[in-house]
Every structure is written in C-alpha cells, then in structure tokens.
Amino acid sequence: MGPQSPFAGREALPFGRRQRRARGPRLPVIAVTGFLGSGKTTLIRALLARPEGANTAIVVNEFGEIGIDQALLRASSDATVLLGNGCLCCNLRTDLQETLRALFADRSRGAVPSFERVIIETSGLADPAPVLQTFATDRALGREFHLQSLVTLVDAVAGESNLKRMAEARKQVALADRIIVTKGDLAGADATRRLVEQIAALTAAPVEIAVNGAVAPAFLLDEPSAPGRRFDLGGTAHTHDLDGIESFALTFDAPLPWGAFEQAMAVLTALRGPDLLRVKGILAVAECRGPVVVHAVQHVAHPPVELEDWPDADRRSRLVFVTRGLSREPVAQLLAAIGAVAAAAPGGS
C-alpha cells in the first residue's frame, strides 16, 4: 500500500515501513548449493548440532540424503519429520514453492513447531537461478520468505576440476553470496589455496574454509552485509570466466532519483534480461531517508526495501552485477545516461 493510500500518514514511505534489514520480518531462507559430494549434508548436520541451529526448518530432496539419525526423530508424517533441537526436516514436494507454502501454512496453524529460518539443500546439479527467482515476487514466496543468502560449497578435492569443466559449477560460484570450501584437509593446503584463488577470479563473495565439514554458524546464518564492500572501486574487481560470466560493481556518489533508476533497469531488463544473472545493491534514493535495497534475478525484480539506516559509513549507492556476456561499460553508460537525463529534467514539471 503506497503513499497514495488514505492511511499513509504524513511521512512518505514509497516502499512501505522502513525495515531494520533487507529481509524485514520475513522468514530468512538460506539455500545451500554445491555439487554432489561437496559436503552439503555434513555442513547442515553440523549446524543442527549447534545451539545456533535451533528453530530451523530444513528442506531436502530426500530424507535419506540428510542422513537423519533415527534417534533424533520425534514424530513424522509423509512430508515432515521433527528433529531434536527444535528443528524440522521436510521433503521437497513437487516443487519448492508448494513445499514452502505448505510449511508456512502448517507453521501458522501450529501443525508443526515454530521455526525462524529455512535451509534448503538443493540437489547437486541445480542451477541456483530458479531458486533465486522463487523468492522474488509476492505472487511466489516473496511476501513470507526472503532469500537471505545463497551459499555454495566447493570441495577442495574435486572443485578445481569441476570449476574448469562444468559451467553449472561456475554459475553456482558466480551467483553465491558466500562460498564454503570443504575437504581442505584431504586436498592439502596448496590445493586449497589454489582453489580459493580460482574462486576469487569468479566472485567477490566471502570465502570460508570448512574445518571437519563445518563452519562458524554465523557465516551460514548471518545476513550478508551491504554488497560491493570488497570491490566498490568498480572496474578493478571486474571478474569473468570461460562462459562469459562476469561480475562487476558500480557506485554512484549522488542520490539516484528512483524513477530514473527504475527506467534504467527496465531498459536493461528488456534488452538483456536473460543475461542479468543477478543484480543486487543498496541505493541512496533521492525520495527516501533510508537506503533502499534492490535485488533482481534475470527479468524478475524483488520489491525494493527501504532500511532504517545504512549498514556502514559509506553512503554511496552500490550495485553488483553478475552477468553473462554483458560487460561493465555499457551498463555503466546506460545508468549514467539515464541518471544524467533525470538530473537535467526541469523540476516540478
């Protein structure tokens, strides 16, 4: 309900109530991707064994995959089993959307214990893009759930080879918010270091090396900080790979007029939507007091969220693009041109 609502009040809030963070009150979802054998199940089981992992709903393709200890089961139905630690585990039904809808409804009516986050273990070869899109709009799951992070596991034994040979492996890394390198103990320090360098060429996402298959729970569970922190100087952090997947960041010193930004993104999406693998950013918007978080996957844009405050001292707009066959320059020029047109437009017309 926008500012034109009769109940909007005096304060303009074009994107609704300001939120403490991008997820607002929505349930955070953490999607874990990675090839078969990369250690997804081990990682999730290790989290469930920690107090920080309590109140988690896990969505898996098959119960067998997560390897639930029978002693942990308290009750079961066709679709859901209750674990110790206040957690539950849920079989993926026909699709992710239906599974999560059913889970949310069961939670609302008290049919399953309350949970405060969802972890999805994707199947090994999954392209993460459809999972990202599932959470993008209100019509799908965007009203109840927020994809907090896409976490990709790369195992140090097979990862180097997978990343060289398999486009899906590279895409999983390029789109990820966080990367976890597993099996470093088996591969050895040198191989692990080489893999980390290989990953850094594909993405600026933070990388953590698992110990005995586990990482500090915060790395998995905390909301990622503002995008672009590590490469806010733009072109210097430009990455690309064999498939033409590139990632780059743009920054803007002056606040952006929302209408102009929206138009620029509409043009970009109309022309190159399928190649905009992921766009995320935090913007200083001329009409807003707080920063505005934006997120788009290919042709689908999440509803923008205005935050109460900036996450750090940097007040510049920052946008991160992961694209295929689309380089930084034309995107920067388009945004600059539309920004310039907006800036030159006569006020009050």
Partner: protein, 405 residues
Amino acid sequence: MAETAIWNFRQLAHHELDGFGGIGEGMSIQIAKDGRRILWLAHESAPKNFTAVDVSDPRAPKIVARRDLPQSHMRSNSLETVGDIMAVAYQTTHQGLQPAGFELFDISEPENPRSITFFDCSGPNSRGVHQLWFADGEYIHMSSGAADFRPTHPKDDQFYRIIDVRNPSKPVEVGRWWLPGTREGDSAPPPVRHPENADTGFRPHNTNVYPERPDRAYLGYIDGGLVTLDIADKAHPKMVARWDYHPPYFGFTHTVVPFFDRGLYIVSDECTRTEGADWPKLVWIVDGRDETNPVPISTCPLPPLESYMRPGARYGAHNLYENLPKPNAWKSDRIVLATYFNGGLRAYDTSNPYQPAEIGYFVPEPPARAPSGAIQINDVFVDERQIVYTVDRHAGGLYTLEMDF
C-alpha cells in the same frame, strides 16, 4: 505447543517474580532520580498489590519493592506513573466492599513507596476502579463506580470518571460520563442486555486520552463497543461516536488506540472465557478518518482456535500496546503489539491496514506454576529503548524481549 514459540523477537530475560508472577494490566516505567529504570507492575489478584522491578539492564531484572494489598477481597490490576507519582487502582470483588478507589504514591524512592492519598470510590453499588489512565500528571481518566451512582443493571456498575490530581493530596472529580440508560433516572431506556451467559456489562474498560487530541477520550466500552467522547469541557463529556459490533460478536471491547497520523483506530476485545467459548476475540483495524462514523476494515490474523485452545485457559485478544504519551514509552503508528493469553504476544504491521500482516510472536512455554498448565500472556509495554516487557496473568511473571522485525 509446550515449547517456547518465538519469531522476530529475542528473549532477554524471564523473571517469575519470586512466586508471585500473576500480573494484571498495569505496567509503567519510572526513571528514578539515580537513573535506574523501574518497571512498576500491578498484580492481577491478591495478595500482592504491586511489584517494582529494576529493568535498567533488561537482561537482569531485579525486584526492588513489593507491597501487599490490605484485603484479600480486592485487586489492584491497573497502575500508572508520571514522574515520581504513581496511581494504583483498587477494585473489590463485590459491590459495597472497601477499600475501593485509587491510591496515589510518592515513588521518589522506589524501595519505599509512600502513600500520598486514597481517593474513595466505594458505595453500595460500586466495586471501585478497574482501570485508570494517568499520562499528563494532571488528570486521571478511569473506569470506576461511585457512591452516588445507582446503575439500572448491577453489571453496569462502572462508568467514565475524570479526576483532577494536580494537587495529589486532594484529588477532585471534574467530570463523568456513562452510556445513557445505564443509570437509574436516565431518560434513555436501558441498553438491551447481551445473552445471559455473555452479559459482561455496559461499562468502560480502557479510557485513553492523548495530547494529539486532548479534547477526546477513546473508550473500550465492554458490551457497548467503541465509544469516543468530546471532553473539551471536562465537566460535560459528549459522545462523538459509538461503534457496537455485538451481537453477533460477543461483547467486551477492551482498548481503543488511535493512530492519529493515519486516521486509524486499533481496537481490541478481551477474551474472558476459556475453551474458546467466546471465540473469536479480535484486534480490529477501524477507519477513523470520519470520527463520527468509525468503519471496521480488517482484523489482525490469528492462528485457528485449535492451535492454542487449552482446558481452563483463555485464547483470544486482550491488551494492546497503547503508545503511551510519555517520554519513556515507544511510539509507532504502524506496528500493533497485542496480547492473546495462550496465543502469547503477537506483532502486526498495519502499513496496509486492509491486510495487517503478522510479523512476530512470542509464546513462552507454560510457567511451572500455571494453574491451567498454559501461558496466559496478559499485557505488554515497550520503552523508548524498544525493549518489550510482557507479563503472564497467573504465574509466569515478567519476560523482557527485543523486537527483531
């Protein structure tokens, strides 16, 4: 649902108040002269009157004072503080008993509350004061009986009274209002009673007055619905509007909180019966843009009755956080915090008032001494640090929380 269910709140502490964890509807913050933050709590029933808890560190609340009631046939239930003055309501179990009225205390030393005066509201047809509103340091607005008030029906024994306490040692009544027909001698006919098993009286519960509209009083009038009054002339309050939605709904309209900037009223019912006998008891969103014609537009969504119905326990709406017009109280004209007995504390975003959205809940595990074996969350207060205080009606005492939505 035996384990704590929590979403978008963080629990900081739980204090069972040393075995006297039954708290009513009085929760008020005082900043003591030495800087301590004291939360004053009115007990739901005898033998305790009130308890003061130091919540300066909300992770480690500490009891600093506690008083017993003088009689077992009375309860305090409601209190408010302004500066170093505290007003405490006294209601007796039956009409004609004493002490019935309110007491003012000097709480400048929180460990040693000293009585300033007692304002007597007892009478042959009075149980005294059920609830009082004291926010400006000058007037108490309350639901009370009086010695000279003879209701047309014994259940209509309380009405709206305004008491000038600018001289705390000599409170003086300056105005009163009752629903026409509820006092003997009225020219209006008595109101049509609700069915016998659901007749909870035509009398006010909460009587809220805010500085944004000092000429208005917002009353939850129990079986009479929502009532707004023009109190520009305190000696002669006049009704502005009444919205009465029962029957078909069960009565007991409890609280009216205006969201002034947005033209909305948030209205709560009180669930007063167990096992869902008066289901549904709701929090209503009411379009108040035309104050002469309040229009309900939605209700806050609730889990179904089966989710939280327990033998001997209530599940349904009760108190709202009331945006208290005081410096140490949080203000929001978008978030509703409401207590639902066994449904716990629940938070809603009313940004789209046609579709209020649940954004958090806190349903603690049943307290060890709970008589029904269920939690019965009764009231909620939020201070300007955005620390949430919520209390159990019977045994659980005080829970401190952070909002995380």
